[in-house]
């Protein structure tokens, strides 16, 4: 991994002590010695074990549900059905986290009572003394179903007469962009390139299945310890179980991987209901098969690009159509569709643009957030399309991109001006160059190279009016405490906040402690989603730490009788800049501040820019606070007789604004790349008639340590991000360009493009066959 020197030396980034160092993360050793407690690890006296009874079919009416036999299974304490919960609604929308209204039509049933819309839909809950007793109870539930015709394809779902899954017409969301004059733009084109791209359902496949434990405490507050990306779900839980919001407490654990699927409510409401009904602690741990059935998937998309280009490579106009599968319940579909729509054109300047996007409900698994949130799907299409354009024009793929790249000040497809650095050419050329010399073809290998550039937003949709809060304080011995509601989902969310506080207060990272993710006692910091935590909570910590710093600096300045600007905090002490002999250790300074009545702690709130939405007809307006830009380059070797694709080299170059912890940034890029490679080559959540044919990790394959090479990571730091110290976000951006880079490399290797993911060996052979017969038939 390397961090490149700033290619624009006039924009000099200040030297920092903790920021920018690959320090050992504060949570790493505890995890490595097996001390960290995850959500399934609780053991409480009198604890019951819960199980969820789920629909065996994807589309049916519940005609009868008899749980009496289940209730009499020895060891069973409680069985709940939807009829026991007349007012329980599951809010699947998320802006409620930010105080805005829930989206109309976004509720789903907590437990289905009438209609079942997907295989695995929850119908009843059981709590028992042992897991076995709960499992036996599930077997004794008598469910009578009248199966109904289902719809398993979004296009079919939109056809008149289709079985109704959502609303009157199965339309869950639509977005539109009308920018410029499409006809005029197309008329200026020398060539029009039209292609259609498809991406499948994909499963998050985090290592930790969903889990949690709930109990009612001595104040009557329902406590839920749970692996979650959203601590604010206490409001959703409260509403669902009929409690005031201040009577539900979510204690988030270290999450064993989320990637968006622990962003929705998973086990929380079930646990709260059972804990209240039984008066005992209740634990619910999903099996892997259950996790597959119960959790959201990445949206499948069909995306058609029709692009007008001049002979010298300039895009004059584009018409893009997008169709997504929303699955059985809406969840975050409208926003995923918005992301895909808003980023449909990629990091390119297109003045004349029509985009029409629609998401349709089907009787398939509900689709919601998955790292990139519509961005990766859009990127597969727009980056494949750029190579198709280059191919049609006989131009170099990077050259075509270079001509069309957005620059700072240009506007995106929704007319949002890019304000930060848009280092697209910088990242693409570095990534491509770092591939080194191209390997030679061999009898069993055809070598190909591909590049993908991208843009990916960080920070939430601005009309959600996103905020975050953090409290920073310094103890009497100079150690630092941070309290912040931030859920740590493994990317180092909590460590980054510690590093920021350590930097500002001049203490080593080991002298900070963070208490996080507790809705009752840590200031609410919002969701660990949308690549927003470093931006939002990082800025909140930055602000809180600065206020505390100011106190300390002012006190030291007063003691020395000098200007506060001359005081610095270094290595746990106040010092005078440039003088080695003036030093007050914090364990002396802090008690002095306390005695002087100076504040030693501060609660800061950081607000993202607030907006009011985009124009409903033209889609024009600002959506996100900022974007991350970068590129991924790969070299592949394709076996033309077996179709196997091997990634030989991989280089990713991203402008992260500022790398708070380069090892963590590298980890995000390496991990995101691997998820992208899986997306490109091996992952598909296969369904037939709404039932999965990939129910476990033996059928749904994710990459092992042997499958793909390490990605060489090149970090650029423009310092122009809106996060702390000029940071941008990298969590989702890390994944976005990986799959398109692979797709482009395969097309380069075999001389024909595969338009749908995953690019399996069978598809490669079929494409090669098509190419041979086309060649025999007189050419492409």
């Amino acid at each position: 991994m390397r961090i490149e020197p700033n290619p624009f030396p006039e924009r000099h980034l200040p030297a920092l002590r903790q920021i920018g160092r690959p320090l050992r993360r504060v949570d790493a050793l505890a995890k490595a010695v097996g001390a960290t407690v995850f959500a399934a690890d609780d053991r409480m006296p009198e604890m019951l074990h819960a199980k969820v009874f789920r629909s065996p079919v994807p589309s049916a009416r519940i005609v009868g549900l008899d749980v009496s036999a289940a209730k009499s299974v020895p060891g069973v304490v409680c069985v709940l059905t939807g009829r026991d919960l007349p007012d329980a609604r599951l809010a699947t929308d998320m802006p409620g986290q930010t105080g805005r209204e829930q989206r109309v039509g976004s509720d789903a049933p907590v437990l289905a009572t009438d209609i079942v819309r997907f295989h695995g839909e929850p119908i009843a809950l059981v709590a028992a003394e042992t897991v076995e007793a709960a499992e036996r109870a599930l077997e004794r539930i008598d469910l009578e179903l009248e199966e109904r015709p289902g719809v398993f394809d979004p296009r079919a779902a939109l056809a008149p007469g289709a079985p109704r899954v959502y609303g009157d017409d199965n339309v869950v969301a639509r977005w539109t962009i009308r920018k410029g004059d499409l006809e005029l733009g197309m008329s200026r084109a020398d060539r029009i390139v039209e292609r259609t791209y498809r991406v499948p359902f994909v499963e998050h496949a985090y290592l930790e299945p969903e889990a949690g434990t709930a109990w009612v405490d001595e104040q009557g507050v329902v406590n839920i310890r749970v692996a979650t990306q959203v601590v604010e779900h206490f409001r959703t839980v409260a509403r669902a179980v009929g409690l005031p919001q201040n009577r539900v407490r979510i204690r988030g654990t270290m999450v064993g991987g989320g990637f968006g699927s622990k962003e929705d409510v998973t086990v929380e409401i079930f646990l709260a209901l059972l804990a209240r009904a039984t008066g005992r602690p209740v634990q619910l741990v999903y099996t892997r098969e259950e996790s597959f059935l119960a959790s959201a998937k990445r949206h499948p998309f069909t995306i058609t690009h029709r692009t007008g280009v001049t002979a010298d490579g300039r895009i004059t106009a584009a018409r893009i159509e997008m169709l997504a599968d929303a699955g059985a319940h809406p969840y975050l579909t409208p926003y995923v569709l918005l992301y895909a729509t808003g980023m449909a054109t990629g990091p390119y300047r297109i003045d004349h643009l029509h985009v029409d996007s629609v998401a349709a409900a089907t009787n398939q698994p509900f689709t919601s957030a998955f790292r990139g949130f519509g961005g990766p799907q859009a990127a597969f299409a727009y980056e494949s399309q750029m190579d198709e354009i280059a191919d049609a024009l006989g131009m170099d793929p990077i050259e075509v991109r270079r001509i069309n790249y957005l620059r700072t000040g240009d506007s995106t497809g929704t007319g949002q001006a890019v304000r930060s650095a848009a280092w697209l050419e910088e990242t693409a050329t570095r990534a491509a160059a770092a591939l080194g010399d191209r390997e030679a073809n061999g009898p069993q290998r055809r070598i190909g190279r591909g590049i993908a550039s991208y843009l990916q937003s960080y920070g939430r949709i601005m009309w959600f009016h996103d905020t975050s809060r953090a409290w920073v304080g310094v103890e009497q011995d100079g150690t630092v405490v941070i309290r912040c509601g931030v859920p740590d989902i493994g990317a180092g969310q909590s460590n980054s906040l510690c590093q920021i506080a350590a930097e500002v207060l001049g203490v080593p990272l080991e002298r900070t402690t963070i208490h996080a993710a507790d809705s009752a006692v840590t200031p609410l910091a919002g969701t660990s989603t949308a690549t927003r935590q470093l931006y939002m909570s990082g800025n909140a910590v930055l602000e809180a730490a600065r206020v505390v710093r100011e106190s300390l600096v002012k006190e030291a300045a007063a003691v020395w009788g000098i200007d506060p600007d001359l005081v610095d905090l270094v290595d746990g002490a106040a010092v005078v800049r440039g003088r080695a002999d003036r030093r007050i250790p914090l364990e002396v300074l802090v008690p002095q501040c306390a005695a002087a009545g100076r504040p030693l702690a501060h609660l800061a709130q950081f607000n993202a820019p607030f907006s009011d939405g985009i124009d409903p007809e033209t889609g024009q307006g600002e959506i996100w606070p900022d974007f991350t830009f970068g590129a991924h380059a790969v070299e592949v070797a394709v076996d033309p007789e077996t179709g196997e694709v091997e990634i030989r080299r991989s280089v990713a170059c991203h402008d992260v604004g500022r790398a708070i912890n380069p090892a963590a940034v590298r980890g995000q890029i390496a991990g995101g790349s691997h998820q992208g490679f899986g997306y490109a080559l091996m992952e598909e959540y296969v369904l037939a008639g709404g039932i999965t044919r990939t129910p476990t990790l033996a059928e749904y394959l994710i990459p092992t340590s042997c499958d793909y090479p390490e990605t060489e990571v090149i970090i650029l730091e423009s310092g122009t991000g809106v996060g702390p110290f000029g940071a941008k976000g990298i969590g989702e951006p890390a994944l976005t360009p990986a799959a398109p880079a692979v797709a482009n490399a395969v097309a380069d290797a075999i001389g024909i493009r595969i338009f749908d993911l995953p690019i399996t060996p069978e598809k490669v052979l079929a494409a090669l066959d098509r190419r041979s017969s086309a060649a025999e038939g007189g050419g492409r």
Binding site: P22, A28, A32, V37, A205, L207, G256
Partner: protein, 165 residues
């Protein structure tokens, strides 16, 4: 279905429990308090539950507790503690090999099994040794680096940690 008392030598300490015939070693260990042994799939696909059984890497979800009667089990806690970590654990923490941490116990034990048999492995040998431990967060690169680092630092071959429970 019968229960019988079995004894497991876990992290250097004899533990006794009543094991039904269908109890897996994973379930037994977690019941005994070794929640550092993680459940990820219960069918041997993911490696999260891996432990060392008489020094050999096994998926504890696919060993019946009774089949481990009288035998020695090492979980990741048995390699070291926060105050006295094993060099492999330190290396994982230092290289960024730990993100969400859920695969980490099984992964570290797989690394230990490798380094015990092969103290100076090549990268290919490392990848192969870890091939049954899935990680969704890291992309494996920093994990492989951690194993290399542990090999260089002397990985604490043959050391077991004291059981702190």
């Amino acid at each position: 279905m019968s229960e019988r008392t079995i004894r497991l030598h876990v992290n250097g300490r004899w533990r006794e429990l009543n094991a039904a015939s269908n109890r897996t070693l994973l379930e037994a260990l977690r019941e005994l308090g070794y929640t550092d042994v993680k459940s990820g799939c219960e069918k041997g696909d993911c490696g999260a539950c891996a432990v060392l059984l008489d020094g050999q890497l096994v998926n504890s979800c696919l060993v019946l507790a009774r089949q481990a009667d009288g035998r020695s089990v090492t979980t990741v806690r048995g390699l070291g503690t926060i105050d006295d970590p094993n060099p492999i654990q330190t290396a994982f923490a230092d290289t960024g090999a730990v993100q969400c941490g859920y695969c980490t116990p099984g992964m570290i034990l797989a690394a230990k099994a490798l380094l015990d048999a092969c103290p100076d492995p090549t990268d290919d040998e490392i990848r192969e040794a870890l091939s049954g431990n899935l990680c969704r967060c890291t992309g494996y690169g920093q994990i492989i680096e951690a194993v290399r680092l542990a090999a260089r630092r002397g990985h604490g071959a043959g050391e077991g940690g004291r059981d702190e429970d």
